[in-house]
C-alpha cells in the first residue's frame, strides 16, 4: 500500500510539474472560433489563392527580428501567426519558402472594423495578380477571436498545443447562381400606350479576398439604392405627388465578373421596356471621399445612331444634375468614354449605350478597370455617401417633376431627403460578417453542414433585399441565372472553391511516445499494487 501511495504521489507531482496551466482548463474544443480562408479560384488551368484548407501544426508567432536565413527552421512545418500590419507579398513568399504549414493573418488589435478587411484586400491583391503559387492554407482571424483561442498560452515556447483546422479538400462550387432583383414604381402615365421609364441600377454584391467577410468591402451601393427607393416611393404613394415616369429599380450581381449579371438582365428584358427607357442612371462607389468630385461617366457610340432630340434631352438632364449637385457643394465632372462594339466594357452604362439607350454612370472613381477582380478598394465614407445620395435623389426629383407641381411640397421634400446617417452605418455594419460575393451567395443550401452559418447569412441577406423591394415597390421579380464556368462572353472560365469559413482550434495534443509510456506506467503501477 505504501508503494502504491508513493507511486500515486509521484504521478501527481509529474502532472503538476508538466502542467503550466490551470488543470481545470480542459483544452476546450471550442467550435465558435472562426478562421476565414483566403479566396481560392481557378481561371482555366491556372490556380489562384491557397490550394489547401486543412492543417495540424504547432503555432509560432512571427517576430519582426526573425527573418534571417538561420531563422527558417523556426518556421518550418509550423503554423505562423502574422499581424495584419506586417503582411506583404515578400513576407508571404518568405514563409512559403520556409515550408511552413499554414499562415494565420491576425487583424489589428481592438474592435474589428470593416476597414481592416478592405486594407487586407489591398495588401494581398498583388499576391493574386502576380503568379505566386500557394500550397499552404492561409486564414484570416479577428484579433479578439485569436486571443480567446490561444488563451494566453505562451506560443513560442509551447510545443504541446497545436493549431488545427479540419476542412477536407477544397471543392469547387458547382452551378453558382447569379441573382438579380427588379421592381418598379408606376407613374401616372403607366397605362398610356407610351409610358416613359427611368431605370436606376447598381450592383449589390462585393468582391473580397476573404469571401466570408466580403460584406466589409461593400461600398454602399445597395444602401444608396434603398434610400432612393424610400424617397421615391414616398412621393409615388400619394397620387397628388406621383410623377409621370415609371421608375424601375434593378439590382444586379456578378459585378466583378465583367458585369455578367447586368448583361444578362438586359438580355432578358422585353424590347417594349427597353424602348420605353428615357434614360438609365447607374451608380457605384459613391462613398469614397467626402466633398470630392462625383464623376458622371457618359459614352457615345462611334457610330452614333441617337437622334438630335435625344442629345438635347441629355444636355437638359446633365444640367439638372449639375445644378442639384451644386446645391450640396459637390462638384460634378463630366467624363466621356467613347466606345465601339469591340471596346471592352468598363462602366455599367456602356451596356445600355450598346443598345442605344441613353445612360450614364455616377461614381467617385475616375477610372475603372475592366470590371475584373482585384481592383483597389476604399472603405466607405458615410458622409460622402449621404451627401451624394441626397444629390442624386434631388436630381432625380428635378428630372421627374419638371413641372412646378412639386414646389408646393418643399417641406415634405426636405423631410424625405433627410437621410439618416446612423441608418446607413447600421446597414453597412450589419453585413460586415456576411458573404456577399457572387458564387457564395446562394438561395439553396448546396454547402456541407460546416457552412450552414454561411448559407443562413447569405439567405438572410438576399431575403432582406427581397423584402425591402416588396415593401416599397410593385411588380417585384427575381431572376436566377446560372453562372457558366466557360462562357465565351466575358471570358469567364472561372471556378470558385469552398470552404471559406472553418472552425479553428488550439488544443493540447500529446505524442504517441508519451501516451505509450503513460500506459506502461499505469500497468506497472497496477502490477506493483
Amino acid at each position: 500500500m505504501k508503494r502504491s501511495i508513493f507511486l500515486l504521489l509521484i504521478i501527481l507531482t509529474l502532472i503538476q510539474l508538466n502542467n503550466k496551466y490551470d488543470i481545470e482548463d480542459n483544452g476546450s474544443y471550442d467550435d465558435t472560433n472562426k478562421a476565414y480562408r483566403l479566396l481560392q479560384y481557378n481561371r482555366g488551368t491556372v490556380g489562384y489563392g491557397p490550394e489547401i484548407s486543412s492543417f495540424n501544426s504547432i503555432l509560432v508567432q512571427y517576430n519582426n527580428n526573425r527573418l534571417k536565413e538561420t531563422d527558417r527552421l523556426l518556421y518550418k512545418n509550423k503554423a505562423v501567426a502574422i499581424n495584419q500590419n506586417d503582411v506583404n507579398l515578400n513576407l508571404i513568399a518568405y514563409f512559403i519558402n520556409c515550408l511552413c504549414s499554414a499562415i494565420i493573418i491576425v487583424s489589428h488589435q481592438g474592435v474589428f472594423r470593416n476597414q481592416m478587411v478592405v486594407q487586407l484586400n489591398n495588401q494581398l491583391r498583388e499576391m493574386y495578380l502576380g503568379n505566386v503559387t500557394i500550397h499552404i492554407p492561409i486564414y484570416y482571424m479577428k484579433y479578439n477571436d485569436y486571443m480567446k483561442m490561444t488563451r494566453d498560452v505562451i506560443i513560442d515556447a509551447n510545443t504541446e498545443y497545436r493549431l488545427i483546422v479540419s476542412a477536407g479538400l477544397p471543392n469547387i462550387i458547382a452551378e453558382p447562381m447569379v441573382i438579380n432583383f427588379q421592381a418598379m414604381l408606376k407613374g401616372y402615365e403607366h397605362l398610356t400606350p407610351t409610358p416613359k421609364t427611368i431605370l436606376i441600377t447598381t450592383s449589390y454584391d462585393s468582391f473580397g479576398l476573404v469571401p466570408s467577410l466580403s460584406g466589409s468591402n461593400n461600398n454602399g451601393n445597395l444602401f444608396a439604392m434603398f434610400e432612393m427607393i424610400r424617397i421615391l416611393s414616398h412621393l409615388y404613394r400619394d397620387p397628388n405627388t406621383r410623377g409621370k415616369y415609371d421608375i424601375m429599380f434593378a439590382l444586379t450581381s456578378a459585378s466583378f465578373l465583367n458585369e455578367y449579371g447586368l448583361k444578362k438582365w438586359i438580355d432578358q428584358q422585353q424590347s417594349d421596356l427597353l424602348d420605353s427607357i428615357e434614360h438609365v442612371l447607374c451608380f457605384e462607389d459613391l462613398g469614397i471621399t467626402f466633398q470630392n468630385p462625383v464623376y458622371m461617366h457618359s459614352s457615345k457610340l462611334f457610330a452614333n445612331k441617337t437622334a438630335n432630340n435625344n442629345n438635347n434631352n441629355n444636355e437638359q438632364i446633365i444640367q439638372l444634375y449639375k445644378d442639384n449637385f451644386n446645391q450640396f457643394n459637390i462638384p460634378l465632372e463630366m467624363i466621356d468614354n467613347n466606345i465601339d462594339n469591340t471596346t471592352s466594357i468598363h462602366w455599367k452604362h456602356q451596356f445600355f449605350i450598346q443598345k442605344n439607350i441613353n445612360s450614364f454612370t455616377l461614381s467617385q472613381k475616375l477610372y475603372s478597370q475592366s470590371k475584373e477582380m482585384h481592383t483597389y478598394q476604399n472603405p466607405v465614407d458615410i458622409d460622402a455617401l449621404t451627401v451624394n445620395i441626397k444629390s442624386i435623389a434631388s436630381s432625380l426629383l428635378s428630372i421627374i417633376y419638371k413641372s412646378s407641381k412639386i414646389g408646393k411640397y418643399s417641406d415634405v421634400l426636405e423631410q424625405i431627403l433627410d437621410i439618416n446617417k446612423q441608418n446607413l452605418e447600421n446597414w453597412i455594419s450589419s453585413i460586415e460578417n456576411t458573404n456577399t460575393m457572387v458564387p457564395y451567395l446562394q438561395e439553396l443550401p448546396t454547402f456541407t453542414s460546416n457552412n450552414k452559418e454561411l448559407v443562413d447569412k447569405s439567405k438572410e441577406f438576399l431575403n432582406s433585399i427581397e423584402e425591402y423591394f416588396k415593401s416599397y415597390l410593385d411588380d417585384f421579380q427575381k431572376q436566377l441565372l446560372p453562372l457558366p464556368s466557360n462562357s465565351s462572353y466575358a471570358k469567364l472560365n472561372i471556378h470558385f472553391y469552398n470552404p471559406v469559413t472553418q472552425s479553428i482550434t488550439f488544443i493540447k495534443v500529446k505524442g504517441l511516445g508519451f501516451e505509450l509510456s503513460l500506459l506502461l506506467a499505469t500497468i506497472s503501477t497496477l502490477k506493483l499494487v
Binding site: I11, L12, E24, G27, E160, K508, V509
Partner: protein, 256 residues
Amino acid sequence: MALLYLTSCLLLTFGPYHVIYYSSDLNKYHSKPIITYGFLGNSITQLFKTILYSTFSFLSSLQIPILIDILFLNKEFITILSLIIDIAGVWITLERAFKISNNRGPIHIICVGLGWSLFSSMTYRLKPIVFGTYGQSFNWSFALQGIEANLDIFKYIVIALFLYLMALLAEKNHKTQSNHKTRIIKSYDKNRIIVYLCLVSYILFPALLYDCSSCSGGNRDTPSSLSSVVLNIIHSVSIATLIKRNQYFNTFFKEG
C-alpha cells in the same frame, strides 16, 4: 493515439478492482454475489435519490424563503443529505449481504465497498473518460478521474467498516456474542469518538471539497482537478493512518 490514453485511463480506473479481487483472495470466498449486492445496493440508492429529488424539486418554484435558503439553493445541504442517504444505503446493503452469508467479517465489508464503488465509477466516470479521451485534445483530468476512483474504493470500504462497527455497538448488550466480538466491542468503546469523527468527516468532506473547488474557480461538475485529488488523498491517508495505528483495527482485520 487516443485509444492508448483511453486504455490507460480505463486501466487506472477499473484495474484496481481486478487487483483487489485477486490479491485479497476474494475469489476464494465466493464473494461475487456480495459484490453484486453492493453494486445493486448503490444503483437502488441512486434511483431513490433521483426520485426523491424530482418529487420535491417543485418546492423550489414555490418561492418560500425558508425553503429557498435551506433546501434548494444550498448545494452543500443537498450534498450532505445525499451522502446520508448513501450511508443508509450502505447500511441496508450490508445487512442484506450478511444475511446471505453465514460468516461475517472483513471480506464481506470489502466486497460491499468494492461493489458500491464499482457502480459509482461506472456511472460517474466511465462516460467522461470514454468521450473525453477520444478527442484530439489531451487532458490530465481523465487520468485524475482514475486516481479519484481508486480513492473512492478506499472510501466506501471504510464507510462499510465503520457502519459494521456501529452495528456491533448496537449488539453490544446481546449476550450471545462471540468472544472476539466482545473484545472488538471493548476496544471499539474506547475509540468510539474517533470512529464517529471519521464517519462524519466522510459525510462532510465532499461538501468541503465543493467549497474548495468553487473558491479556486472550479466546478464540481467538471472533470477532476488536481486540488480535489490532493484533498482526497490527504483525507484518505489520514484515515488510513488512524486505522493502521489503532490496535483495535489491527485486531479486527487479523481475527475477522
